[in-house]
């Protein structure tokens, strides 16, 4: 178990190195000279030299890579061209917003997906099951930006229940946070909830056919305990494996969603950085998102082994 955790931790190192190299290389993907592109047509020769010095482009390639990693290890990702502040500061300032919405969205996904999936499995082939399957299919098929726009029109413009955008930090006003975060979180959650519904439903159906469920019933265990204890514990394992996948889609989906709802998170920061060619910012955002995803997947994997005693305890008689 500990050995597994350590080896799993070590596996993330090469991935991080690879991604950081890609992040470093972004600046060279720009056609022509990066400084000219960034500076624009009105840039003077001095401006270009300043930009080059700022990006370190005037140094030899190896020195640039060396610098990049030395700075990276110190948490220095350079200075944003657009905002004029250190990239690290911007990322640190914006990340709690994205993380709070992603977690909220994850909770919505789990609650919606698990409950719909379980209810569908328990009513296999009845109309509730079919309704849930249709719900899941719709959730999976609708693009989340379209769903976000429809929800704004419905809940904000027509019904006036929730604001059309903006963001209030949870620490200043929890109710305000809930009002601003619900629509972004929900529009992110719908697609994932559809996916989770389908996985939960099919896993639950499979589990309910197992011999140990029949054993539990033969013991006289009440049906709801059979479902919530015996069946659910076994259903959760495959569900936990897809949580990592779900989280990664939630994070990458936040770029579009945060832009639509005007939420100042990592997503909109990265979106703006891309449209403004703020390369240091793109590098920083990319590294942050990748590191966060690696960490989350690591947690999910460890959680999985902890849930399954066949892996956790190991050994057979």
């Amino acid at each position: 178990m500990i050995g597994y955790t350590v080896s799993r931790l070590l596996q993330t190192i090469p991935i991080l190195i690879l991604v950081s190299l890609i992040a470093f290389g972004i600046i060279y993907l720009i056609p022509g000279d990066a400084a000219t592109v960034i500076g624009g047509p009105s840039a003077t020769a001095e401006d270009l030299a300043r930009i080059r010095a700022n990006l370190g482009l005037d140094q030899p390639l190896l020195a640039q890579i060396g610098h990049f990693y030395v700075n990276l290890l110190q948490g220095d990702l350079g200075r944003s061209l657009m905002l004029g502040i250190p990239v690290t500061d911007a990322v640190i300032a914006r990340s709690p917003i994205t993380i709070s919405i992603a977690l909220y969205s994850l909770v919505l996904t789990i609650v919606l997906g698990l409950s719909t999936g379980i209810v569908a499995a328990l009513n296999h082939n009845r109309w509730i099951d079919q309704a849930a399957t249709v719900f899941a299919l719709i959730g999976v098929s609708l693009p989340n930006f379209w769903l976000a726009l429809v929800m704004i029109v419905l809940f904000s413009v027509h019904l006036g229940w929730l604001p059309t955008g903006g963001y209030v930090p949870f620490t200043t006003d929890p109710i305000g946070w809930l009002r601003t975060a619900t629509l972004p979180a929900l529009s992110l959650a719908m697609l994932q909830a559809g996916l989770l519904t389908r996985i939960t439903r099919s896993t639950m159906l499979e589990v309910l056919r197992q011999d140990y469920i029949r054993t539990a019933r033969a013991k006289g265990v009440p049906e709801w305990v059979v479902i919530t204890r015996h069946a659910l514990a076994n259903t959760l394992m495959p569900v936990v494996t897809v949580l990592g996948l779900i989280l990664s889609v939630l994070l990458s989906g936040s770029i579009v969603i945060e832009t639509i709802f005007n939420v100042p998170g990592i997503g909109s920061l990265l979106g703006n950085a891309i449209s403004n060619r703020d390369y240091p910012m793109i590098q920083g955002g990319l590294l942050f998102v990748t590191a966060a995803l690696l960490l989350l997947n690591l947690v999910v994997d460890i959680l999985y082994t902890w849930l399954d005693p066949r892996i956790r305890v190991g050994g057979s008689a």
Binding site: Q210, D211, Y212, R214, T215, A216, R217, A218, K219, G220, V221, P222, E223, H230, A233, N234, M237, L307, D308, P309, R310, V313, G315, S316, A317
Partner: protein, 323 residues
């Protein structure tokens, strides 16, 4: 004295398709009744019908009376209280019958606490006692084990411990030894016989193995293609089977002292439930069949010694000569 369990004309159908027809037999207190038949003969479905464990799509008719109560008429709640407490059941597949994510102790303790209001600690003590009874060494330590840490024989012992946890009056064992090694099989059969002696539990033992029946059953009910074809005490049955199917079963069971080197088989195969022949189900495979056999389902014919057989020629043919 009225029997502990009594089945009268029990039929089970799925989607209008009968898989068990007109099954009637009794089980007395402390009696071990063997329910024998090939796979697909309806033995397991009969057992699951007794416990009310068939899927809701099953249509059950007839009477299943346990301690004076008609089970199919009981409410879900009453039926649930009876499961585990009045009737315990063990299954064929010890490898998959225990929940892989809970410890063995958890699963025994749960069985106890579902029916008895006692503390977890007291239930754990009882679980240790039960594991000791079913012959598991170092039982206190084994409580913490997960099923995957145990062998098949051990798991089946745990299943028996679970089934016995609330001292049921009846234990239904559905092919409990089929998936296990021969040596382990013998040990488990001894254990079942001990259970009857010690707890006074009646046992319905479902099997396709005549050797298992000879070992511990008092009485035998033989099923063929969804119906009971013969019922007798274990000695009369082995001594002089009256139904041609039972005769065939006996002849095809290899014995150490048999002179014929060739194994006798019953020609043909078991008909599927949707494809039953008219009249006697066994007629097409029966060496004694005559035209009237195809005309109607033969009624149960009771003999003076209590033996019963569903064959219109049973009297005419007489008891089979002892081997």
């Amino acid at each position: 004295m009225s029997p502990l369990l009594s089945l009268r004309n029990v039929s089970v159908a799925f989607g209008g398709q009968p898989v068990v027809r007109d099954v009637s037999f009794d089980v007395a207190s402390r009696e071990i009744v063997g329910l024998v038949g090939e796979s697909g003969s309806g033995k397991s479905v009969t057992a699951l019908a007794i416990l009310g464990l068939l899927p809701p799509t099953a249509e059950i008719t007839g009477e299943i009376v346990f301690e004076g109560r008609d089970l199919p008429a009981l409410g879900r709640r009453q039926m649930r209280r009876l499961r585990g407490a009045g009737i315990g059941m063990i299954f064929q597949e010890p490898m998959s019958s225990l929940n892989p994510v809970f410890t063995v102790g958890d699963q025994i303790i749960e069985a106890i606490r579902v029916h008895q209001r006692i503390s977890r600690r007291a239930a754990a003590d009882r679980a240790v006692e039960l594991l000791e009874k079913v012959g598991i060494p170092a039982p206190r330590r084994r409580l913490e084990d997960y099923p995957h840490q145990m062998s098949g024989g051990m798991r089946q012992r745990v299943m028996i411990a679970i089934a016995l946890s609330c001292s049921p009056r009846l234990l239904i064992a559905d092919e409990p030894t089929t998936a296990l090694d021969v040596t382990i099989q013998a040990q488990l059969l001894d254990l079942l016989a001990e259970v009857r002696e010690e707890f006074g539990t009646a046992v319905v033992l479902i099997t396709h193995n005549m050797g298992v029946i000879a070992e511990i059953a008092d009485r035998v009910v033989v099923m063929y293609a969804s119906r009971v074809v013969e019922e007798a005490g274990v000695f009369p049955l082995f001594d002089h089977p009256r139904h041609p199917y039972t005769r065939g079963l006996m002849a095809s069971t290899p014995a150490m002292d048999m002179e014929a080197p060739r194994l006798v088989t019953i020609p043909g195969g078991t008909p599927t439930p949707g494809n039953l022949p008219p009249g006697c189900n066994f007629a097409p495979r029966c060496g004694y069949a005559i035209p009237p056999c195809a005309e109607g389902v033969p009624p149960m014919d009771a003999f003076a010694d209590g033996q019963r057989a569903a064959c219109i020629r049973a009297r005419e043919l007489g008891p089979a000569a002892p081997r």
